[in-house]
């Protein structure tokens, strides 16, 4: 039995330690906002925060999470930066199919938390780990800038 801090709550899960955090979140805890895309940390659809830092949950054995605080897209409604980015995402009509967008927003929150005024290059660096197959990149850039400049 493992105890995990997820979105501010301590939760106990009975799963193998090598099971990636992604599947614990999705299939055990029902937090399906975090998506599966590649399973090898190439697409970023599974991005969560570990102590505020963006991490790929698909390659993170749940046994290695330890005491670190896990935050998922489901908590972004109450997160000041998360709220502003979600709003900017809607205002700039970023979303197309939407499958990658929870991961995009998690990476954007982590980026702005660390660098409140990123330039284009910093945005590219911070967001390059997140694929969007609908290629909404131009609007992701503008939505991040909207929040950064506000």
């Amino acid at each position: 039995m493992l105890t995990l801090s997820i979105n501010g709550a301590d939760l106990q899960v009975d799963v193998p330690e090598d099971m990636p955090l992604l599947w614990v979140l999705r299939d055990v805890l029902g937090l399906t906002g975090t998506k599966y895309g590649c399973g090898i940390a190439q697409c970023g659809a599974c991005t969560v925060h570990l102590d505020g830092v963006a991490a790929r949950a698909c390659v993170l054995p749940v046994g290695s999470v330890g005491q670190r605080k896990v935050v998922t897209i489901e908590a972004m409604k109450e997160h000041p930066l998360g709220q502003r980015l979600q709003q900017a995402w809607l205002e700039d009509e970023v979303v197309q199919c939407g499958y990658c967008q929870p991961g995009q927003i998690m990476s954007a929150v982590a980026l702005l938390a660390q660098n409140p005024a990123p330039d284009d290059q910093a945005i590219d660096l911070g967001m390059a780990g997140n694929l969007c197959r609908c290629c909404t990149y131009t609007r992701i850039r503008s939505a991040i800038k909207r929040v950064a400049q506000a």
């Binding site: 998506k35 489901e74 939407g98 990658c100």
Partner: protein
């Protein structure tokens, strides 16, 4: 993409609309019946019923319903996969019905080809950039008819002439300020006959159409609450994943499942003809279980096929006879003999996977009474048929609950993964969610075909185009997808679309096609469909002709576009906006391309920088589109931006190759996709137009590759005739 373009379409105006009562009280308006020129719809159109009521209960699903609370339920015949079609269609309805977008509740259309066939595609599908084009007029008419009926119902109640009343925001308003909500009028309206004449709003009266509006599906997609197929859970459901034979046509021979059974959470190992499935308590158990299996395959006859062999077949086809002639005008052979000069070139495009970010996923339950699917599909009827066949049940026992789609790009026009999910679910007594790994998704796709096109142009003394011979070789998607739609000579209307009728005026033309079935892969639709192929080929070739004539590529095109003023306009606008003709530093160049497809005119200018060792930087993309009447300008821009970059990703990086019958690319590390750091800005110029709406979801995808290679030629003097660019040694910086 057109599956049956020859089928007669004879929609009668007489029965265009149906009125009926909701079972629980309320008003129903049918609009979908005349879409198909055949079968049930034809019968209704030609023979009644004369009272305007729908003949069967199932038909009610096709309808716009307004209940006694005034809520509007719209059963949308198109799926939402990111293109914004459902919101666009709701906007058209809301406009004429005089309600707000937020008053409309969307419902996914069930499989019913009599009701929901697309009138351009002639089957029930979301594809070919048809959603707005096919539904624009009938949906307006249906909304306007409902509005008229509600006004007439109020007129009856108030004993006032209907022309003194108007509708606004879900209410009918009287001259003296009194008003009634739609919900209060629906029962009376349902008893009225279908109006003979339904006047539509004039464009000056539009309050929603043409205005930027926010899509209905996006709020749930930014906070993680949107549920895709992969996110669904049913009571008792378990999680499955499969390994399918790595070689197409191979069979499962033997499985040692002992180690897999030891994986915590693994419940079942299921043997299928060509695959093995592991069922577990969670997806991870299924994935880990698959990895622990020892599987032996009977690889079958494709086990020694490689890309080289398939490419040889394509070139051999071009060296053979002309194949099926798609179009012939003048005498191209004579023109080539007599021309002041001739020019020949051959272009090539690779197999492509779709790589939707949500992998193939389907929830299936096989019960004694029914087979039920929860799946995002572009083709509900084909999904129903596939499930029925897999379960050995009649189609009417298959329930299809369509879902939001996490990327499709044509992949979810196929039903292979649905067949597999049902085959697994048939062996257990609980619902199963099948989730493919990314590796399975990449290696067991149905691929956009590899094509080779050969051109020979006849030119006059000034290098002006007199005509060309164009021979296309590649797999016929239509021959696999809908064989009945292909004539005996094998002419695939999709493969020759655009190529068959070039927008450039020429006296002599011969376009022919030789279908070359691929040996160890299956071919399918891919965003941009036929035009994706043709635009690359035609716009590369015309550019080479311009350069050979030492002419400006924009001017050279304009000279041959006399019959297409809208094409001239987008070309001029894109060129102007991109600073065409203005000097660039050494190593930089601009390329242009123009097309008329999906009912829309598009021109794109790309600016690139080519440095040492073929270091390639795409600096800027400018597009101008004339897609007729625009429903939502934000959606049009977003589709051109995203669609263009989607095409750029493939043009730069992507190629599916085969060795020993196996697809060699497996995941995003070796099937690279465009990232934000690779993505240039895309500027979209929207041309004001009152023409019929055109499609926009695929236009940008189809046009970027030729503009890109033309830009590379301008920047470096080197012509790339085969995609992707990385194959020619370019690397993106």
């Amino acid at each position: 993409m057109s599956v049956d373009s020859n089928a007669p379409l004879s929609p009668s105006r007489r029965q265009l609309l149906k009125v009926g009562a909701l079972a629980a009280g309320g008003l129903m308006i049918g609009f979908a019946l005349p879409f198909s020129g055949r079968s049930f719809a034809e019968q209704v159109i030609n023979e009644g019923p004369e009272d305007g009521r729908t003949p069967t209960a199932t038909a009610l699903d096709a309808f716009i319903g307004i209940d006694r609370q005034g809520r509007v339920f719209f059963t949308v015949p198109k799926i939402e996969m990111g293109q914004g079609a459902q919101s666009g269609l709701a906007t058209i309805l809301a406009e004429e019905l005089e309600v707000g977008l937020e008053q409309i509740t969307l419902k996914e259309a069930p499989p019913n080809e009599q009701l929901y066939n697309d009138k351009l595609l002639n089957f029930q599908a979301t594809g070919g950039s048809t959603s707005i084009r096919s539904n624009w007029e009938p949906l307006r008419r249906a909304g306007a008819a409902a509005r008229l009926l509600l006004i007439q119902a109020a007129a009856g109640q108030w004993q006032l002439p209907a022309d003194q009343l108007r509708a606004e925001n879900g209410r009918v308003l009287g001259p003296d300020g009194r008003s009634l909500g739609y919900g209060e009028l629906v029962d009376a309206a349902a008893q009225l006959p279908v109006p003979e004449n339904v006047p539509l709003k004039t464009p000056e009266q539009f309050r929603l159409i043409g205005q930027p509006s926010r899509r209905l599906d996006t709020p749930d997609k930014v906070d993680g609450t949107a549920r895709f197929t992969i996110d669904l859970t049913l009571p008792g459901m378990k999680h499955a994943s499969t390994l399918t034979c790595p070689v197409l046509g191979g069979r499962l021979a033997e499985v040692d499942e002992r180690a897999a059974r030891q994986v915590p959470g693994v419940r079942e190992v299921i043997r299928l003809d060509n695959a093995v499935a592991v069922i577990g308590d969670h997806t991870w158990a299924a994935f880990a279980g698959l990895r622990a299996l020892e599987v032996r395959w009977d690889l079958g006859e494709n086990a020694d096929i490689g890309s080289d062999a398939m490419e040889r077949d394509l070139h051999r086809a071009l060296d053979g006879d002309d194949g099926a002639v798609a179009n012939e005008a003048g005498d191209i052979e004579q023109a080539l003999k007599e021309a002041a000069s001739t020019f020949e070139a051959e272009y090539e495009m690779p197999f492509l996977a779709h790589a939707a970010l949500e992998p193939m996923t389907c929830v299936a339950q096989v019960r004694p009474d029914a087979v039920e699917l929860w799946v995002g599909t572009q083709v509900p009827v084909r999904a129903q048929t596939a499930a029925a066949e897999a379960a050995g049940r009649p189609p009417e026992q298959v329930i299809v609950n369509n879902q939001l789609i996490g990327g499709a790009f044509g992949r979810r026009l196929e039903t292979d993964f649905i067949t597999q999910a049902v085959a697994i679910a048939a062996k257990v007594d609980y619902p199963v969610k099948l989730t493919w790994t990314r590796e399975e998704d990449t290696t067991h796709d149905l691929y956009r075909p590899h094509y080779v096109d050969r051109f020979a142009a006849a030119l006059d003394g000034e290098g002006r185009l007199l005509g060309w011979r164009h021979h296309i070789a590649g797999a016929s998607v239509l021959a696999r997808f809908a064989p009945a739609a292909v004539p005996p000579n094998g002419l695939d209307g999709d493969a020759v679309e655009v190529a068959m009728h070039p927008i450039y005026a020429m006296e002599h033309l011969r376009v022919s096609y030789t279908p070359v079935p691929p040996k160890a892969l299956l071919q399918s639709w891919w965003r941009g469909v036929g035009p994706l192929r043709s635009s690359f080929m035609l716009e590369s070739f015309i550019d080479e002709l311009a350069l050979k004539a030492e002419r400006d590529p924009v001017d050279y095109r304009l000279e041959r576009l006399a019959l297409h003023p809208r094409a001239q306009r987008v070309l001029r606008r894109a060129a102007e906006q991109a600073g065409w003709g203005e000097a660039l530093p050494a190593g930089r160049g601009r390329g242009v391309a123009v097309q008329f497809v999906f009912g829309s005119y598009l021109a794109t200018v790309v600016e690139v920088e080519v440095g040492e060792d073929k270091a390639l930087r795409v600096r800027r993309i400018v597009s101008a589109i004339d897609c007729g009447r625009v429903i939502n300008p934000v959606s049009v821009r977003a589709q051109i931006e995203g669609g263009t970059l989607f095409g750029l990703s493939a043009a730069l990086f992507n190629e599916i190759t085969l060795a020993e019958g196996r697809v060699q690319q497996t995941n995003f590390h070796d099937y690279r996709q465009l990232r934000i750091s690779d993505a240039p800005p895309v500027e979209v110029q929207l041309i004001d137009s009152s023409e019929e709406p055109g499609g926009v979801g695929e236009a940008g995808t189809a046009l970027i590759a030729p503009a890109l290679v033309n830009a590379v030629a301008a920047a470096s003097g080197t012509r790339v005739r085969r995609l992707p660019l990385v194959r020619a040694g370019y690397h993106v910086v």
